[in-house]
């Protein structure tokens, strides 16, 4: 079920919020023991909120004001789950770590408050790599999240539970964070849509900071239409986040609303898309490359034109990322001292310790210029690559990860191999751009006879989300993969 389908049915009295919430609860109770997407789940709270929403809806039906009600509360009765690093006042927020397994935030993150105000109902908190450090979900202190399409494989990371919960119909959408690919990567592994906002578009307030100059707060949905429907509700300047930006919030859903029932011929006429040659190297899995080519053909059919571009600092960008992230992590995790909240620092997991010590090393007196300052200079070159590209094209298309979802345990012994998973996603964060992760199809059958999801990313210039959603919507329609219905409906 998609958000738009659910709202449609609720408005037509074909579905109650209690029924909707119960269908999610049923899936959580049946599947979570295997998938491990939820860390915290509060059934009573969700059903209590559902009852309240149903009362509001029932009254609105009686007074013929259901549309007005949904104008006021655009997500009334829609179930959501939040990544565990996002603070929720009524739910434990452990950040996927044992060091914070007793932490109940005294306030809601801005994105949580905004979604609550829009009427969404919180089901619980989602598993993730501890402090969002990871690309597979396996750095969680609560065990890895399994891929709903193959339980022997990872669901990606760090927003592992975010993706798996949506893919397995445990919720209609889930929030998460993307610092170097942490929404696009798991979405591409689970046939779901990832929203990586422009840096500063969505407030970071109340989200456990990983790398503050890169952290983007977003979410995962089943469809681009759902993603666009939510975007305006969570965007905007927030006085509690100094890095949030005072740029007007567009109506991101208007194009989709107007065109939902129309079939357009060549709707992407005039749109130029760049294919960075560095994103199509031999280190990328051939099936992923094939699917990206397939998406290119679909976009050509829709009227878009393509040119080859170059982002020469792509490989260097990953090295920049793994200097800057540990530096910022080291500083941000310095606040965990077991005094104001949480446990002692001995409770940190292996990856947090690794990043803290790399950060301490590269920021040490004598090494600062060679590592940190050098990385910030190369970051400027990475950004210039994208500026040059966007002077020629409107969007950039590329794969998300170099490989299909790995088997559980395949990369955990080799941190560097895990870091290389971010090579095609981290440069976008370094440059503060926006991107959508969009499902492109499935791999051939693996040796276990499973077809594995493959996604692509569409990258847009800063604050160009309105156009990004238009292209994403038309592409999704042309691919025709997700009609928004449950697999078992």
């Amino acid at each position: 079920m998609t958000i738009l389908n659910a709202i449609n049915k609720i408005k037509k009295k074909e579905l109650t919020v209690t029924e909707l919430v119960n269908s999610c609860i049923k899936n959580i109770e049946e599947k979570n023991a295997d998938i491990n997407a939820f860390i915290t789940f509060n059934k009573e709270y969700a059903l209590k909120m559902a009852k309240k929403a149903d009362e509001k809806i029932s009254n609105a039906h009686k007074s013929n004001s259901i549309d007005e009600l949904y104008n006021k509360y655009p997500l009334l009765g829609i179930p959501v789950a939040h990544k565990d690093i996002i603070s929720t006042k009524d739910f434990k927020s452990s950040s996927g770590s044992k060091i914070l397994d007793n932490y109940y935030p005294p306030y809601d993150a801005t994105i949580v408050r905004k979604l609550n105000d829009a009427g969404a109902i919180i089901l619980g908190k989602l598993n993730c790599d501890a402090f969002a450090h990871g690309a597979s979900g396996e750095n969680s202190d609560y065990g890895p999240t399994k891929n709903p399409y193959d339980l022997t494989r990872v669901s990606g990371g760090s927003s592992s539970g975010t993706a798996a919960s949506v893919a397995s119909d445990m919720t209609l959408f889930s929030t998460g964070t993307d610092t170097g690919g942490s929404l696009r990567n798991p979405a591409s592994f689970t046939n779901t849509v990832a929203v990586k906002p422009t840096y500063g578009r969505v407030s970071r307030y109340g989200v456990t900071a990983m790398a503050s100059s890169l952290d983007s707060i977003g979410y995962i949905t089943k469809t681009v239409s759902d993603a666009a429907y939510i975007y305006g509700l969570v965007s905007g300047k927030d006085n509690n986040d100094a890095s949030s930006v005072d740029v007007a919030v567009d109506d991101y859903f208007s194009y989709i609303k107007e065109n939902l029932d129309k079939k357009n011929d060549k709707p992407l006429n005039g749109i130029k898309i760049g294919l960075p040659k560095e994103y199509f190297g031999e280190e990328i899995d051939s099936e992923i490359l094939e699917k990206t080519e397939y998406v290119k053909r679909k976009l050509l059919d829709l009227g878009a034109t393509f040119i080859e571009i170059s982002l020469p600092h792509t490989n260097a960008a990953l090295a920049v990322y793994y200097v800057l992230v540990p530096s910022e992590v080291m500083s941000n995790l310095g606040r965990l001292d077991g005094i104001r909240y949480g446990h002692e620092r001995s409770e940190f997991g292996a990856e947090a310790k690794r990043r803290i010590m790399i950060g301490s090393y590269v920021l040490s007196s004598g090494f600062y210029d060679a590592y940190y300052l050098k990385a910030q200079k190369v970051r400027t070159l990475v950004i210039e690559d994208f500026k040059n590209a966007f002077s020629k094209v409107d969007f950039i298309l590329g794969p998300v990860t170099p490989m299909l979802p790995p088997k559980l345990g395949d990369n955990t012994k080799d941190p560097l191999k895990m870091y290389l998973m971010d090579v095609l996603t981290a440069p976008i964060n370094l440059s503060g751009l926006c991107a959508l992760g969009i499902p492109a199809g499935f791999s051939n059958k693996t040796e276990d006879h499973n077809e594995l999801p493959i996604g692509v990313q569409l990258i847009g210039n800063q604050f160009d989300e309105k156009n990004l959603y238009k292209v994403g919507f038309e592409l999704e329609r042309a691919i025709g993969l997700n009609n928004g219905e449950d697999k078992n409906e």
Partner: protein
């Protein structure tokens, strides 16, 4: 390559306690990551300015109105602290008397 002495020093300044087997593991793993990062050395950054922040923002502070409106109560702010006394958090003693 990092020595075990380097790792122990890094752990100390990072306020982390490591077992001997962790020291060995991090010696290898951190060394590999730092080797990888060396690819930055091959890039010419003469006359390139560093970028610390893509938003180009400078010195933004909370407004007084916002600060007064949204501040947490003492009770809420301290609710997760292990030891408290008279509205204060009790910290670790730094000086042994």
């Amino acid at each position: 390559m990092l020595s075990t002495k380097d790792i122990k020093h890094l752990a100390k300044i990072s306020d982390l306690k490591l077992t001997d087997s962790e020291v060995d593991m991090y010696c290898k793993q951190l060394g590999e990551v730092l080797d990888y990062i060396k690819i930055l050395d091959s890039i010419d950054t003469k006359n390139v300015q560093p970028t610390f922040h893509v938003g180009n923002s400078t010195n933004r502070f909370q407004s007084k109105e916002n600060y007064e409106k949204e501040t947490l109560s003492n009770e809420l702010a301290l609710k997760n602290a292990k030891k408290k006394d008279g509205g204060y958090i009790v910290g670790k003693s730094m000086l042994k008397g």
